[in-house]
Symmetry: C2
Subunit: 239 residues, 2 copies
Amino acid sequence: MQDERPALYDVSKYQLPAVTVDVVIFSLINRTLHVLLVQRKRWPFQGRWAIPGGFIRLDESLEEAARRELEEETGVRDVYLEQLYTFGDVQRDPRHRVISVAYIALVRADAQTIRASDENSDVRWFPVDHVPAPLAFDHDQILAYALSRLRSKLEYTTLAFQLLPELFSILELKHIYEQILGEKLDKGNFYRKIKEAGILEETPYMREGRGRPTRLWRFRRDRPGDKQFVFRWREDRRE
Amino acid sequence: MQDERPALYDVSKYQLPAVTVDVVIFSLINRTLHVLLVQRKRWPFQGRWAIPGGFIRLDESLEEAARRELEEETGVRDVYLEQLYTFGDVQRDPRHRVISVAYIALVRADAQTIRASDENSDVRWFPVDHVPAPLAFDHDQILAYALSRLRSKLEYTTLAFQLLPELFSILELKHIYEQILGEKLDKGNFYRKIKEAGILEETPYMREGRGRPTRLWRFRRDRPGDKQFVFRWREDRRE
DNA sequence: TTATTTTAGTGTATGAATAACACTAAAGTG
DNA sequence: CACTTTAGTGTTATTCATACACTAAAATAA
């Protein structure tokens, strides 16, 4: 069918915006939810912190661009990645019309290797409630939206497991929920709910410490055929 | 701070993708959920039906582009509009690298005036379960995702009211829910739930027909201060 | 070596939300 | 005037959420 192709499609008659992919990278460090930011070296917003991102290449999909960006900033591959929203206001970048497709990434704290990139003077993890506001561009807005999405998806997906090591205790899992939701949960109800969901697999391992030793569990990847595997912590509060 | 601006930012050193905005336009026609499609006149996918869309201009935001596109196709303004997702696979358009930001629009059946556009030979409403598959490009995928989003948002937003005229009966509202969800709902439970939500305002008007006349209601826009105003039909089934 | 503290994990009572369905109401139609 | 049609209410059983009291098993302090 290539033969039927008429004249070369002339896209140059339109003025084109630039397209970037920005990745809001979350991780749980010292039991606290953190976000990775990069400090800008140059105008505009010189010195301000920003969500890492870069221009998309013509030979990669949006998700591939997000994974590349993620790996450039953290050295991490194979993490949870989800498209968040596309930001396209006319004046969001003073240099040029830039449309940014934002992604959310969740990386395990033990897997990350952080490298500084060429373009930026610094790369750093910040606790989500202590980011150096204001961020560059409209990145405050992007971060706020990412957090809101994270909170709402937490409740009906298995997303929280992306932040845990392979073996974990139920109370550690509960702690992640509390970190992201920003509120305390009832221990007994959490136990019951997560057990009933059938998404955890018991292991023979225990972890000792102060107090009674705790059983370690593993996230069950061989999901049962029925609907069961979607764990839903609570029904209310959505985006 | 403009003075500090160094050399003109040279975006031309990157090859730029084209950016389009596609709008999946839904309406309720003859008590059935329909979607608006346009028939392509030219290569590629000549003759196939497609979701209406067009290139973004440098002086308009994404949402402005979506509203412009919507008005060009339907003549309708001031409708419900929501960003759906951004599709950016490398090969989705054989002409050029094209990134499409997809929107969902809901228009009232009584308001629409449909005009054919220059670029396409035809514009037509199709019932959502009788679209002329396959659509052009990756539009089957976009439409499927739009429907899935519509279904899941229906349950925790007041989105269904966008498809109704100003005055409507409770059973008409229930019918919309059934159309979009694709299943029957219990009459008694629907009455109770919608009344308790406090989002409807009783009017003195009735509509006569066969059987007992029905009371007409209006969507309450002066939302009460508390959380009540989000109507949630059911808790389960999400995107 | 026994009491105390700490963390882990279970059991249960109460009230709220849901679902199924039987019932009453008010109009038109044969 | 019985019957059909559409509208709208009431009732009940069951499931689910919440709060919180309880038991369990270890380290640590006396």
